[in-house]
């Protein structure tokens, strides 16, 4: 298993490299640059800006220096400076030597931020929202699916699947404002917008205080976002569980006199979890790196909008940074899913 993981991590490096190359080429192929504006900047200013960000160099030089800044650790004797172009994620100081790694570059649009700032400040908030909505999705989706499978073709089943269809058909952009209107404006039970957790974070990504106010702000967005995924999970759970409880070993367990509850939770569920876990991997990556629409509607300062606005702004470092981040999360999530397979089904072995 250990060698398998190391091999997968090496593959991840290759995948990330290929993604970076394709993204780099695509984003430079799109017309328009980071400094195109309605009020045309003077030529002189554009020339100076291009020089400052090395955009006047040939593409392969730009790509090579980007790879050097991001992937290769730097060994230097100069301590970190306050320049926005000199912001590394990892700074280790051993005596006179500084080891610095991962400089994703400054943002062209937001002169006062670097991509690393975005990772440090906005990613944890998106992650918090993502984890909570995933938790709610599982909390709603799995019991619903199990119940529908066990009571197949009864009213309970139709109710469960009705909720699933509703969750899948009504997108967050409709559900969100409805929640805000009902619970935020009419009943005034919950605050409509905002997110109380702000930097500095505990352990780098956890909210520094899990109080009632935090959950007040987090409840509506998590439910709005989680409902859609819960529908998918419910249907998948129902489908595989229906298949599993018709297997022979379940009949053996029943004839042996085991409790129905034990049969379902201990024997049937473990085997029907595989498709659900398969879906959970990419779902986790998608939710944790930020969702544009939910964060926009609920005013959550997450990372989702950077995926979209960086492209319209032609903010090259942010585009590369967000896409590479997503790629890494996706590959790691899939790796976790594959390892979970081995745990769920002992028949699956990796060399």
């Amino acid at each position: 298993m250990g060698r398998y993981i190391i091999r997968r991590l090496l593959y991840m490096l290759v995948v990330v490299l290929v993604v970076s190359m394709i993204t780099f080429l695509l984003m430079h192929a799109v017309p328009g640059g980071p400094f195109t504006q309605e009020k045309t900047l003077p030529e002189e200013t554009i020339r100076i800006l291009n020089e400052r960000y090395h955009l006047d160099e040939p593409l392969y030089v730009q790509y090579a220096s980007y790879l050097y800044a991001v992937f290769i650790p730097h060994f230097t004797a100069t301590p970190p400076s306050t320049s926005y172009q000199d912001d590394f994620l990892l700074n280790v100081n051993i005596g006179p030597l500084w080891i610095r790694w991962m400089n994703f570059g400054p943002s062209y649009k937001a002169r006062g931020r670097t991509v690393n700032d975005i990772f440090r400040d906005n990613l944890p908030i998106s992650a918090q929202l993502g984890v909570m909505s995933l938790f709610i999705a599982l909390l709603i989706g799995m019991p619903l699916g199990i119940m529908s499978a066990l009571k197949q073709n009864t009213a309970l089943d139709y109710f469960g699947m009705g909720v699933a269809i509703f969750g899948v058909s009504v997108p967050v952009i409709v559900l969100g404002p409805i929640f805000i209107w009902i619970f935020g404006i009419e009943l005034k039970w919950l605050p409509p917008t905002g997110w109380t957790a702000k930097p500095p974070f505990f352990l780098g990504f956890l909210p520094s205080s899990l109080n009632w106010e935090f959950f007040q702000h987090a409840l509506m967005p998590s439910v709005a976002l989680g409902l859609g995924s819960s529908a998918v999970i419910a249907r998948l759970t129902r489908a595989t569980l229906l298949q599993t409880i018709r297997e022979d070993y379940i009949r053996t367990a029943r004839s042996k006199g085991l409790h129905e509850r034990v049969i379902i939770t201990r024997h049937a569920m473990k085997n029907s979890l595989i498709p659900v876990v398969t879906v959970l991997g990419p779902l986790f990556a998608a939710l944790v790196t930020g969702t544009f629409v939910t964060e926009l509607i609920f005013g959550i300062p997450g990372m989702g909008k950077y995926f979209v606005t960086s492209i319209t702004n032609r903010d090259y470092p942010v585009i590369m940074g967000t896409i590479l981040l997503y790629a890494v999360f996706l590959v790691l999530a899939n790796l976790a899913v594959d390892i979970t397979y081995a745990y769920l089904d002992p028949r699956i072995r990796y060399d």
Binding site: G32, T45, T82, Y84, G112, G194, S209, L210
Partner: protein, 607 residues
């Protein structure tokens, strides 16, 4: 399964206990030492809560999201939200009254202009001597002390000279460096890197309270530009370091909370990126008639999408919304409570359709005029945009210095006149021997629901009135911008122009004239955009820029508008923007027409 469940729940409970122990830490660093000597950690952010009625007066306002305020460094700030913050935190030698748009004393109590023999103008600004630099130290606002800690650092002419230097420095690549480059002697050479000697720029520090600026032309708007954010005083010691290492050099990062220093009525308190930015009252601001001491204790600008702004406003958590969503306007106007809280004020932008005057079909001025006269602007505003905008008869919005107004020039420019439009087009059709529906015309705009609605309406108006079929093309914003300033500018395209400074020169000359933003030229010959050169127009706007008599200026600009809008019809001005605001009834405020509010004049009543 059981064992794992217990382990898992134990972990969850453990993590909750640990995070509860973490708690909300608010550490105020020792406030006894001079400004941040060697301090490397900024004070931790304190969570801001909505205020109790008897507590400090905190106004919750909004900025339009998504997208954070890019920067609040006056040297490189560009967007309207960033300049709103810098306007409140700093101040120029002159101050623009936000309601009347007239020049008032700012950091300079008075100034005298001297016209030099070589055509330049030297203005001597006499600065106040009682304004200290201040900063937020985590618990309250304190003054910044000199190296030995004995006295406060006072804003001097040196700070203003340093501010201009930083704005013009090529290494800083300021997007608005060109503004001073247009007017200040030697600035263009310095900011382009032609010379590295800042002493060639027309900035002279006579003494701590006297600043001399030399301008290229003897024009009326020189004091206005001198008071813009590009020439605000900046604190050299926190940027480049001072006191033999006692004050750490922060470089570009001096604007971060904990290090930011300013001198205006407010100063930066907290900035949580993409969430909110808050400014706190500066009790050391001495106050003047033009810029009084603020009555508010704090202003929090929450960065939200417009629907989220409205939702929180209706829930009672926000006091002032700066952009209610267009789709909700009907509902807001119909609601008795909300409708009373809605305010419409002029905004200095013009929405227009430009022509490429050398492209096929639209190269004939009759076609352009016909298309312009066939647009029913009032109907467009009433039925499509619904924001209370004003139909635009010409380009330079009324209210700018030098701009004609509807009161004194009601018939200037172009109006909706379907009969005249048909007649114009008919004369073109007869001469060319073609029919209206055979004309090949296309209109390009940048992708957006709002622009699309307007384009479709106007397309229908042209079809109904003139019988022409205009194709609609939409492009993503940056692609559209590239295209309309290129050698292949489309026949008709959508654009808007907003002010940099409130003077008609900014509209008529800096956008329309040869080498302007929408009339790119090479060696004096336009090649894209309007693709237009009219010697009479060029002479008029040049003369108007130099003219000092306000009434004569208005006449000159009126003549120029007549040429650009009617005689040559290089564009179809559609409407002049308005600003829609929702303000709670317990907020006492002024209504700015410059797009930026003067929060030092606002107040909150007990409610």
């Amino acid at each position: 399964m059981h064992k794992n469940f217990y382990v898992l729940s134990l972990l969850v409970i453990l993590s909750m206990i640990l995070t509860a122990c973490g708690g909300t830490t608010t550490q105020a660093p020792a406030a006894t030492e001079p400004a941040a000597p060697g301090a490397t950690e900024p004070p931790a952010h304190a969570a801001t809560e909505p205020p109790a009625p008897e507590g400090p007066k905190v106004l919750i306002s909004t900025f339009l999201g998504p997208g954070d305020v890019p920067t609040i460094d006056p040297a490189v700030v560009q967007d309207v939200n960033g300049t709103q913050i810098t306007d409140e935190a700093f101040g120029g030698v002159t101050h623009l009254n936000e309601v009347t748009n007239l020049i008032e004393p700012g950091m300079a109590e008075s100034w005298d202009a001297v016209d030099n023999a070589d055509g330049t103008q030297t203005i001597t600004f006499h600065l106040r001597d009682d304004v200290p630099w201040v900063r937020w130290n985590g618990t309250d606002v304190e003054t910044v002390k000199t190296c030995d800690g004995s006295a406060d650092r006072i804003v001097t002419a040196n700070d203003f000279a340093y501010g201009i230097y930083r704005n013009q420095l090529p290494a800083n690549a300021s997007p608005y460096a060109y503004l001073l480059g247009f007017v200040l002697k030697g600035a263009a050479d310095f900011s382009s890197g032609t010379t590295e000697d800042f002493s060639t720029v027309g900035v002279n520090v006579v003494d701590d309270q006297t600043l001399e600026l030399t301008f290229i032309d003897q024009v009326a708007y020189n004091p206005q530009i001198a008071g813009l954010w590009v020439a605000y005083a900046q604190p050299k010691w926190i940027i480049e370091g001072d006191c033999e290492g006692g004050v750490e050099a922060r470089g570009e990062r001096w604007i971060e909370p904990g290090f930011f220093q300013s001198y205006g009525p407010f100063t930066l308190k907290d900035w949580v990126h993409d969430d909110y930015i808050s400014i706190v009252k500066n009790p050391f601001w001495p106050g003047s008639d033009a810029i009084p001491q603020p009555k508010l204790d704090e202003v929090v600008f929450r960065i939200l999408d417009e629907s989220a702004q409205l939702a929180d406003y209706e829930a009672g958590n926000i006091d002032n919304v700066i952009t209610p969503p267009l789709s909700d306007l009907d509902r807001i106007k119909a609601d008795p409570a909300l409708g009373a809280e809605l305010s419409v004020s002029p905004q200095f932008c013009t929405y227009y359709y430009g022509f490429n005057t050398k492209a096929p079909v639209v190269d004939d001025v009759r076609v352009r005029r016909a298309l312009s006269m066939a647009v029913d602007r009032q109907s467009l505003i009433d039925n499509v945009t619904k924001g209370g905008q004003e139909p635009a008869q010409w380009f330079a919005r009324p209210g700018l210095a030098g701009s004609p107004t509807m009161a004194d020039h009601p018939d200037l420019g172009i109006k909706y006149d379907p009969e005249a439009a048909k007649a114009e087009l008919q004369s073109y059709l007869d001469e060319k021997g073609v029919t209206a529906d055979s004309l090949d015309l296309s209109l390009q705009y940048n992708t957006s629901a709002g622009h699309q609605a307007i384009a479709e309406t106007i397309q229908q108006m042209w079809k109904d009135t003139l019988g022409v079929n205009v194709k609609l093309v939409n492009q993503e914003f940056a692609v559209h911008l590239d295209s309309v300033k290129s050698r292949d500018t489309p026949q008709i395209y959508r654009l808007a122009w907003c002010l940099d400074y409130p003077d008609a020169n900014n509209f008529d000359r800096e956008n329309n004239a040869v080498n302007g933003s929408q009339n790119p030229a090479e060696n004096g010959e336009p090649y894209g955009g309007f693709n237009w050169k009219n010697e009479e127009y060029e002479a008029l706007v040049l003369e108007a820029a130099k003219e000092t008599d306000p009434a004569r200026r208005v006449e000159l600009y009126a003549e120029a508008e007549d040429i650009s809008i009617v005689q040559d019809a290089i564009m179809i001005p559609l409407y002049w923007y308005t600003d829609l605001d929702l303000t709670k009834p317990y907020v006492v405020r002024t209504y700015s027409s410059t797009g930026k509010q003067a929060f030092e004049k606002w107040d909150i009543l007990p409610h």
